[in-house]
């Protein structure tokens, strides 16, 4: 690659898949409307024309069957990429993901691996209401045997897939729907990223803001607003939700002594709860204030724009939570 490359998150996802299919005869893509329609979010547009419908396969609306078929094919030498339109639809394949993909390697005593990649859209912001807008990646992060990642940057969208395909385990990639149109720059010479490990996206010494996926840029906006008030927020992008890179989070908390977790999932029984609990368990005496959380309101995400936006973590609320920790009234 020569020179920094500017592209959208959607284009990054597409390039990643194109490269993977061209580079490895074991890789193929299947899912609903990935071929002739070009993907419900236009992520796979043009791939079937170029690569053929053997390697880019439209499936019937049978999430359980085509996810299970991906598992079976992965058990026997292939490296499938399965696309599920949204995380809400993935619930129709929950049996295959949780009862088969996550268990077979262990249950078989290590005789079979499931090197499967499942991509799906997650999150709200497009006024798609309660059956297309939820953030359930935290549920999947509960399950041993799965790896869960959430690329939040164009660079991660471009290169996490390659790392996921190289992993011998089932990897679920969650792409936030509000990121697809986002443009970003891939630094000159970048050809790979790690699948795991959090990244500090902005350094600061006053408060740690831990987030992932679609909330990253809202959190960076909040950090920018806080900077105007002379509060230096450190922003951590988890990138991987399972396993969690707690070392990076704990190192940040050791520096800032304050933690805000920002998670578009609901608060109760959530990933944000897990992170707050682990920080409390492992770094309680580093904390100068109780951990705080900014999560989605506990309602099914509604259609009306103002109601939908009121559900979600917003920069103002994130900044307010951080401010309350740094400058308690």
């Amino acid at each position: 690659m020569s020179g920094p490359q500017r592209l959208t998150y959607r284009e990054a996802c597409r390039q990643a898949m194109r490269e993977a299919i061209l580079d490895d005869p074991r890789v193929f893509l299947m899912g609903e409307d990935v071929a002739r329609y070009g993907g419900c979010y236009a992520v796979t547009k043009g791939l079937a024309e170029e690569l053929g419908e053997e390697r880019v396969r439209d499936t019937p609306l049978s999430e359980s069957a085509f996810v299970g078929a991906g598992i079976g094919a992965a058990m026997d030498g292939m490296r499938p990429i399965v696309e599920i339109m949204t995380v809400n639809f993935s619930l129709l394949a929950l049996d295959q993901l949780v009862n088969n993909a996550a268990t077979i390697p262990h249950m078989s005593g290590g005789q079979f691996a499931v090197p499967l990649v499942v991509r799906m859209a997650t999150g709200a912001g497009r006024q798609l209401a309660a059956q297309h807008s939820h953030s359930l990646e935290g549920w999947y992060a509960h399950v041993p045997g799965l790896k869960i990642v959430a690329p939040a940057t164009v660079e991660d969208a471009r290169f996490m897939l390659k790392a996921a395909l190289a992993d011998p385990n089932p990897v679920l990639i969650f792409e936030h729907v509000m990121l697809y149109n986002m443009e970003g720059t891939i630094p000159d010479g970048t050809a790979s990223v790690r699948l795991e490990g959090a990244k500090v996206r902005r350094e600061g010494g006053d408060v740690s803001l831990v987030t992932y996926g679609g909330s990253l840029f809202k959190t960076l906006d909040a950090a920018e607003a806080l900077a105007a008030e002379n509060i230096a927020a450190e922003v951590i992008d988890l990138r991987s939700l399972r396993p969690l890179d707690m070392a990076t989070v704990l190192a940040s908390v050791a520096k800032t002594h304050r933690l805000v977790v920002v998670d578009e999932g609901w608060r109760s029984g959530s990933l944000s709860a897990e992170i707050a609990a682990r920080v409390a368990e492992e770094a309680f005496f580093e904390l100068d204030a109780p951990p705080a959380r900014v999560c989605s309101r506990e309602v099914p995400v509604p259609y009306a724009a103002h109601l939908e936006q009121a559900c979600l973590p917003q920069p103002d609320a994130i900044a307010a939570a951080a401010r309350a920790l740094v400058r308690p009234s």
Binding site: I104, G110, F112, K147, P168
Partner: protein, 328 residues
């Protein structure tokens, strides 16, 4: 009928032995369960042996097998050594899954035995994927998928049949219709009880066969496998059979009359086949004695192997939750 089966005496005796071996192995398992050597769920195959023995002889080493939680018969018929199977039931590290799977989750990579699956219907999508992998890699193998008639009630059954037919994948679907899904009688669960007719709705050539007749099953399986190998897409075999024992070890069988079970006992696949062999002068008394002695000896060795097994160290508990590499 494209493939006419001609079985010589040796092959017929092998079918008899295959069934008797499963029956005797499981009788020992039930005994060991009472002795608390085997725990958890134990689902016995008593009465259904003709299905796995009949189908398995039609398969080749390159074929993949997906089975259910009632899979001791498939496992033994596929050639998984009895000792590692017994050791798995004992939950020791010498077991085929190092004690992680138990009776319901037998896997054997070498024999392409891709699991006993304990979610009813959960194995069907896997079989579709195994067949897809074979096709995409240009291999000749097919995927044989065993499931009970209860699986027909699940959406995964319908999704999988459709996908396999749509993509003309080399899958042999084998429905072991033993008439009861745990305690739920077929006619109480299905509006259409003719299961093989459902396959036809997906344009899959299907056949219903007397699952208590090992030769009929073997012949039907050979025909179906030949068609699948010829690239004709999936085939569907409904084997009509009967479970003579309880669903598992905790089942008072309140859902069926004792007389029904007794009547089926008389039509069991082993007693029936043995009588037929005998009547046709194909079974000499010395054959039977030799078969039974061999089986008894094998079971004795398997039990000794399992008894001598060692517990998987608890330090290894998390091993294989995540794999470090894909096994070659």
């Amino acid at each position: 009928m494209s493939a006419r089966v001609r079985l010589d005496r040796r092959q017929l005796l092998a079918l008899l032995k295959g069934m008797k071996r499963i029956r005797a192995f499981e009788a020992k398992c039930a005994e060991l369960y009472q002795a608390q050597k085997i725990r958890g769920f134990l689902h016995l195959y008593d009465g259904e042996e003709a299905v796995s023995v009949g189908v398995m002889q039609a398969l080749a080493p390159e074929d993949a097998v997906v089975a259910t939680y009632r899979e001791h018969g498939q496992a033994l018929a596929r050639g998984i050594p009895m000792n590692v199977l017994m050791a798995e039931m004992y939950g020791v590290r010498e077991g085929c899954c190092r004690g992680r799977g138990g009776s319901m989750h037998i896997f054997d990579r070498e024999r392409r035995f891709c699991g006993g699956n304990a979610i009813v219907g959960g194995g069907l999508p896997l079989a579709v994927g195994l067949a897809l992998a074979a096709r995409m890699q240009g291999r000749s193998g097919l995927a044989a998928c065993f499931f009970g008639e209860g699986a027909v009630e699940e959406g995964e059954f319908h999704e999988s049949l459709n996908l396999a037919a749509l993509w003309r994948l080399p899958v042999l679907f084998v429905c072991e219709n033993n008439r009861y899904a745990m305690g739920m009688a077929l006619e109480r669960a299905e509006s259409e009880t003719d299961i093989h007719a459902k396959a036809a709705a997906y344009r899959i050539a299907s056949e219903a066969v007397d699952g208590m007749d090992v030769v009929a099953v073997a012949a039907a399986a050979l025909r179906a496998v030949e068609a699948v190998r010829a690239g004709e897409g999936p085939r569907f075999l409904e084997c009509r059979t009967y479970r003579l024992r309880a669903h598992s070890m905790f089942d008072a069988q309140a859902y069926r009359p004792k007389e029904e079970v007794e009547a089926w006992r008389g039509k069991g696949p082993i007693v029936r086949f043995q009588k037929w062999l005998d009547g046709n002068g194909l079974l000499h008394p010395s054959d039977l004695a030799a078969i039974e002695a061999e089986i008894d000896g094998e079971i004795e060795l398997a039990v000794a192997f399992a008894e001598a097994g060692t517990p998987e160290p608890v330090e290894e508990l998390e091993r294989f939750v995540l794999m470090e590499e894909v096994p070659a």
